[in-house]
Symmetry: C2
Subunit: 731 residues, 2 copies
Amino acid sequence: MLKRVLFLSLFALSLGTINAQSITGFKAENVSEQLDLEAAFEARLSTENLDSWMKRLSAEPHWVGTEYGKQNADWMAARFKSWGYDTRIDTYHILFPYPKVRELELLGDQPYQAKLTAVPVEGDPYTAQGDALLPSYNAFSTDGDVEAELVFVNYGIPSDYEELEKLGIDVTGKIVIAKYYGSWRGIKPKLAAEKGAIGCIIYSDPEDDGYVRGDVYPEGAFKNKTGVQRGSVMDMPLYPGDVLTPGYAATKDAKRLNREEAPTITKIPVLPISYEDAQPLLAALKGPVAPESWKGGLPLTYHIGPGPAKVHLKLEFDWKITPAYNVIATLKGSTYPDQWVMRGNHHDAWVHGANDPVSGMIALMEEARVIGELAKQGKRPKRTVVYGAWDAEEPGLIGSTEWVEDHEKELQEKLVAYINTDGNGRGFFRAGGSHTLQTMVTEVADAVIDPQTGVSIKERRIAAQMVNGGNDSFNLSALGSGSDYTPFIQHAGIASLNIGFGGENAGGEYHTIYDTYPHYKRFKDPEFAYGVTLANAAGRMVLRIANADVLPFEFKQWHITVEGYLEEIMKEVDNKRKTVEKHNKLVRNNAYQLAADPRKPFKKPEPKDAVPYLDFSPLQNSLEQLRQSIEQLEALSLETLPLKKQEAINMALQKTEQQLTENSGLPRRPWFRHQLYAPGFYTGYGVKTLPGVREAIEQNQWKEAQEQIEKLSQTFLSMDAHLKKLISHAE
Amino acid sequence: MLKRVLFLSLFALSLGTINAQSITGFKAENVSEQLDLEAAFEARLSTENLDSWMKRLSAEPHWVGTEYGKQNADWMAARFKSWGYDTRIDTYHILFPYPKVRELELLGDQPYQAKLTAVPVEGDPYTAQGDALLPSYNAFSTDGDVEAELVFVNYGIPSDYEELEKLGIDVTGKIVIAKYYGSWRGIKPKLAAEKGAIGCIIYSDPEDDGYVRGDVYPEGAFKNKTGVQRGSVMDMPLYPGDVLTPGYAATKDAKRLNREEAPTITKIPVLPISYEDAQPLLAALKGPVAPESWKGGLPLTYHIGPGPAKVHLKLEFDWKITPAYNVIATLKGSTYPDQWVMRGNHHDAWVHGANDPVSGMIALMEEARVIGELAKQGKRPKRTVVYGAWDAEEPGLIGSTEWVEDHEKELQEKLVAYINTDGNGRGFFRAGGSHTLQTMVTEVADAVIDPQTGVSIKERRIAAQMVNGGNDSFNLSALGSGSDYTPFIQHAGIASLNIGFGGENAGGEYHTIYDTYPHYKRFKDPEFAYGVTLANAAGRMVLRIANADVLPFEFKQWHITVEGYLEEIMKEVDNKRKTVEKHNKLVRNNAYQLAADPRKPFKKPEPKDAVPYLDFSPLQNSLEQLRQSIEQLEALSLETLPLKKQEAINMALQKTEQQLTENSGLPRRPWFRHQLYAPGFYTGYGVKTLPGVREAIEQNQWKEAQEQIEKLSQTFLSMDAHLKKLISHAE
């Protein structure tokens, strides 16, 4: 059946090509040449390469510092070279902890020693590689040896601690056990420590990615009772990258912090466990029954505790400076060698990483191969194309972060855009990033055919949006964190994208020993149809940016999006005010107490401070000023200008994203400089848009909120000044 | 602590008495006498009686036809007599099935024989009464012996079959397994049979009332793995009561239908089971994984099937004509003996029934005792008070229905109002019923003190409403079905109420062998504080209706409520129209297909017929006419009229509810005559307001909807004519 659909898709594609009228950034007379190039590019993409490369790259575990990881880097570098790329390996020397001691036991009458080991399964020999498999742990947990009563804290996110507060439960001096999900995992120990806990256990509840979701591995894709999700818990919302070299490159001889003072290592020991190991711990808890929404899928009554269950947790790590190998492959541009477009994907994995990251890595490689091949045939891109294969992404975006910190000035001078990929699945096109690139991405999504349905990936995604109650427009999501785009966009101010496919490949293999080639082939993208589609989409983006007459940045849609964020925030303040007013009325009327069951724990809520009115007019005025400038810009039709003017405009366009950063960064985290997008301080991966203002409001810091409004309006004004200069180049 | 609160409550009560200014229906000069009477009534209520009577009534299983049930009836009759009531036992002869054969087995490689028996538990000797306990079954399942593949249908309600339809799954010739809850249980086999299934299994998922909700019996209140919910599955939305005598009394010599033609016996065999018995059956299913919202709390992946699990279900019942004993106790009114107010609660239970129904029954008895005692002291109510203890409620509201059918004419002539109670718990005051009584109920709720908090039961309930996001007004809910008010209000057109306390007594004992005295004392209303509070609330209502100068019906609030229902329905039609339009657009655009995972089952949805515009003006106009009449009535201040006029007005007031019934009843179910309230044809207990119109719309019967609009507007017009006549009595 797939064959038939592929045939259809080629048919639909050629129709698309014939009917295409324009591409943003291209002179009318250059459009068909570009489309021919893209068609030639697409025609050369091969699923067979993807298949064999996945087998090669995921054959053995290859976390940063492993011999196989180094071999993979060398092997990829050799491939890039053979495809005509100037290739080098940039090495950084980073702190990486390897687990030496991992002990967790339930004490008391019915003691239990946690197994902490996932079992090999039939039909998947990779899972039986024994000692070669990285023991399950959370990287950048501190060492620790603690013993205390256990408290179940649901996902361990701020709203959960509010609930505990209502019940009068304090985690001070306790060990918390939290479910995975609900936030990025690093938030859980960070918040637990802030609340006074002395240890943190994170487990995978079957409701989130185990048998509740579907059959478990090897019958199905989901997590069996022994599977454990590894993962970093460094305080990435503060800064990602090497914990000892914040803001600068971890070169061999760099000055390093002492480990004891590294602010992004957790304050308390933290260990991930399976649901098999979690069950006896949870079953031994008494105290209040957990709220309805906290309950997971284990066959027991979820109690909160504290205790009587007492646990002992002991963790020791081998803290070693470890080399991380970034493969950097460059294809110099024929016309504008000093304007770059960069693609990246990490190559390190927690274990085999067939899905994460290899499925994205091989799509990037195939894309690079064909672009190299076309270059050899005389179709070299006008601008320089750079491919990066990052190491040490898993422990904390380390390879990419150190590289960006190392090359920051050059990147800010030359790099037009960075396009990131990571693990890739099956289903719907997903794209997030700088909203100045939304039009370009939309046009590419319109040109790329979905392998399963024969319509464009844009049409299929919009269909899904609408069936799920959404609208019919294609929008980029805003980027928080979770992959290597973070240093590019949020630190260096490079316009960035993160793209991939998903929605039809759910499973529980993420960061476990079950993320293997056999698992991927059965449950993700069995014929690599979406692998080549990703190469197709990303490659077209690269080729359009590389060959455009005018760089395809667009500001009208960007402005609408930013205005939308502001409206959201203003509404949030109003809602917050109403919620506080209602809360205080209920407190005054004693309603909470009257509504509470006197036989259950209850702490009378305190009245809350009233929410003041903020002055949003600086943002409204600066955005209005920007709107007018953008209108002027839109009227110019840059594609028809003379070459010299276009070149000057391109130089300016390339730096527009940098106008959105401020060197002082965000409050309490200067590394994060972007004023429109940041990972949430208490969500981790989840994005906060207009983060300075939004997070101050969320945390009731009203004075800071007003200051951030001022600061952000200055950002908008410098963006406006930049656009005005850009417009002057056209005149 | 309870003692202190009780003291507070008495204090608050006396304050309330002093400050009270008026009671609806009472002349100003009669108010303080009434309040003194109510205070005397309240002061005599004893929790000790409740405690000892619960022990007595729930000592042995006492479903209809048991020896102990008969003894209970005789014992209660003797009590009523001793309190000064004219007491008789009205006996009906009803068809009642007793389970002879119950067999359920999973066939195939890993066969499983269902145990079908709940285990005795430590600390509760009642659960160890062995053969005296009624085997778990669904009364009015048909006999059957079927073998087929199993299909999991979630709750087995209409929306679930829509979901199955989307997945292309047909239950024809299959046996379905459905979870309890989501609707009244009788809907499940009814709908399954309509869809072509040949058998039906209903099980209690731990998510709904087992370990997911809380600790299980005997540690906690919830259902352990062996507990089974019994219950009737007769097609009560068609008509309740004896299946062989629809619409007339099941007297000894009544003409009876043949059992084979009785329309309310199920078409397919149906059996309830525990989650211990359900687990192997569900685990043996394959096919698509159930949708997210279908998943329960068992530690397995919920698949839908059909099969490969095959089951064999064999059921045989002993279909016997069985005597049902209603205890009827009458205290003749001093002034208006031919105007009655009636209270009722059933006395039969599935097993011991400490909560259901004994906890309500004992409150009714204590209320009757004190009213009898006061009468002996010369404080006899002006109107006649009747207490009913119904038999055979559990199998299908049979005792009350036969009695109402038997005495219909007399009740329509004399009965002012019927106030029902059933199992009672702890927490918040809940009241549903005729909205003409809303003002009276609100005033009583304002006068009765909550035993746990010392505020009025109205204030506590409103506090809970507000904390849960609701408003601050006290409203009666509309009555669907599920207890003995149904024949009174929905068949005979008697103004009715159903009241009780709950919200802090959740458990899984309902209709199981665990609904015992020890369970009740630990988890429901341990000190019978809410038992006497229920007696207090219900008794005050009885005394107010019995002694009022003008019967306390009120129409302004009633009118607002009815208008609200109409607005709801009009909005529903509009929403339905929009939904269909959106659906058809998605079908036209092929969006459902594009959004579907090609590797999963999917059936392309068909376009739906457009929703026409209905003419609601007959309802709007008749309600406006009513509004004007009610305004006139409100202006009259009936309490100040001369006695003769008041008596004429009372005669008319007493019959207002009957104006809201039509002899032809609802479409396809003439037994249900009320035009404002009915149990849903496909929800069972759940109410449908303005049911003729609403259900026609829900089922896309547009012609019928318009006819029902006409019919309902005629009902409103006859209500209007009645009120005009009533007004004329005042002039």
